[in-house]
């Protein structure tokens, strides 16, 4: 029997019940603050390839001279990334996409956010292996020529184009939804404007990323 009393059973207030909320906010935060900012920095660094081989190699040297670089990479990139990816996979597994029935713009963005989450993860694993881990194991130097030797393969190049565009989309759309998650854009009008700004952001960094790829071949 259902009770009809006015006082519904209160859930006990404890940390476990808030766990999902805290994880979801950390997921949003991790995506924007260390990861998104790192991606923008990374795209800007790579865009120095447009200025030529020397400029790019110089920039790589500059970054490699940052003190405690491996620690920064582990704590500001690797750990947030593993958490963001793990929780993101869980989130996409418990949602049931229905873009076939409800072809609304935001519903499609919701779907693409999950698709690009997966493509970005696959891309990052391959990318980190080729340019961060493999050079450490085999002692190869990271420079313009190494990138060039990878990207000359047409399949690798196409994979990179998909990977870069997907990652930039994932971050741009993530800013849009992040603004809602953090309660900044509340009404439909401000959300629409935020969406346009994020689209512009996607276009600028998508074009920058892809032209940088072309600069390596």
């Amino acid at each position: 029997m259902r009770s009809n009393s006015l006082t519904a059973d209160l859930q006990p207030i404890n940390k476990n019940i808030r766990k999902r909320f805290v994880l979801s906010r950390l997921h949003s935060l991790a995506g924007i603050v260390p990861l998104g900012i790192f991606m923008v920095e990374h795209l800007l660094t790579n865009s120095t390839a447009l200025l030529g081989r020397e400029k790019y190699n110089e920039q790589i040297h500059l970054i490699q001279s940052i003190p405690f670089l491996p620690l920064l990479e582990i704590f500001l990139v690797a750990i947030p990334l593993i958490f963001h990816a793990g929780y993101g996979i869980y989130l996409s597994m418990i949602s049931k996409s229905n873009t076939q029935t409800y072809k609304y713009e935001r519903n499609r963005l919701f779907f693409f956010q999950r698709v690009t989450g997966i493509t970005t993860l696959v891309f990052i694993i391959y990318h980190v292996w080729s340019f961060r881990l493999a050079p450490v194991f085999y002692g190869t130097e990271i420079n313009f020529d190494l990138v060039n030797s990878h990207l000359e393969n047409v399949f690798v190049f196409s994979f990179y184009v998909i990977g870069v565009v997907g990652a930039v989309f994932h971050f741009s759309n993530g800013i849009r939804t992040g603004l809602i998650t953090w309660g900044v854009t509340k009404g439909p009008a401000s959300q629409r404007i935020a969406q346009r700004i994020c689209l512009l952001f996607f276009a600028v960094f998508g074009v920058l990323g892809v032209t940088s790829l072309f600069a390596f071949i």
Binding site: A8, R25, N98, T101
Partner: protein, 250 residues
């Protein structure tokens, strides 16, 4: 004799809660200005399927017939909406009718929407005015706030928002947009504010707002045009603050 115009319907049926669903087609005589309810009434009047076999008439729920009660929600040509305000002439045929399968299907198009009423209990969807003595009249509410609250008061617990939400399903604990929008509604009332934190406890809980994926289907399908996503974003703001401050106060 001119050939009579017919309307073809394809209904997803279920004889009882634990039996398998199956599709059945019907062809019913056309009348001008028919809505989906009147088409279903026609089947009820003469329960014969498209093959001419007499069958059990199709079960569905309806009350008001003017889009205020919320009882006749169903998936019509895939999309969830109210059968009473859906005109047959505007639909592609055969008109496909399915129950809202996000909810337990009881029989044919009848679903059990109890989870939404349970959710209203969880969020304390009421204004606490009962006491042992007269408390006097409550604070005044500005007409602007009344206008805003009014939109949320039109929620008829129809279930469309839950059915269209990709994050409301058996694998997710999400309480759904309806209950969260009602949380905003009761929290904005000056007397309702007294139990605001208790409601926010549910919002930051396991079933709460962290399950929202911002697909914003809810606001698109809401038959009452309730600004559900605005309520969700406002609740995000409130919930973030509440979670942080209540944790820092520990």
């Amino acid at each position: 004799m001119s050939a009579e115009k017919v309307i073809r319907l394809k209904v997803k049926r279920k004889d009882q809660m634990d039996s398998e669903s199956y599709w059945e087609e019907f062809a019913i005589p056309y009348r001008p200005n028919m809505n989906v309810i009147s088409a279903l009434m026609e089947i009820q009047r003469n329960p014969v399927n498209a093959e001419g076999t007499k069958v059990r008439s199709v079960a569905w729920e309806y009350n008001c017939l003017e889009e205020v009660c919320g009882a006749c929600s169903m998936r019509i040509n895939g999309k969830v909406r109210q059968a009473c305000s859906t005109l047959v002439e505007k639909l592609e045929q055969p008109i496909q009718l399915e129950p809202m399968e996000t909810f337990p299907v009881e029989k044919d198009l009848v679903v059990d929407r109890q989870r939404m009423f349970d959710a209203l209990q969880k969020i304390k969807g009421w204004i606490p005015i009962d006491g042992t003595y007269a408390m006097g009249s409550g604070p005044l509410i500005s007409s602007r706030e009344q206008q805003e609250a009014y939109k949320f008061s039109t929620c008829m617990t129809c279930g469309c928002c839950l059915d269209a939400c990709p994050n409301v399903n058996s694998g997710s604990p999400f309480i759904g947009p309806q209950a969260l929008a009602q949380t905003k509604y009761f929290n904005m009332h000056p007397t309702g504010k007294l139990t605001k934190n208790e409601r926010l406890e549910v919002v930051i809980g396991d079933e709460g707002i962290s399950n929202c994926g911002n697909s914003q289907n809810c606001v698109e399908v809401c038959p009452k045009d309730i600004p559900l996503t605005t309520a969700l974003a406002e609740l995000n703001h409130e919930a973030n603050r509440y979670a942080l401050w209540s944790w820092l106060k520990k």
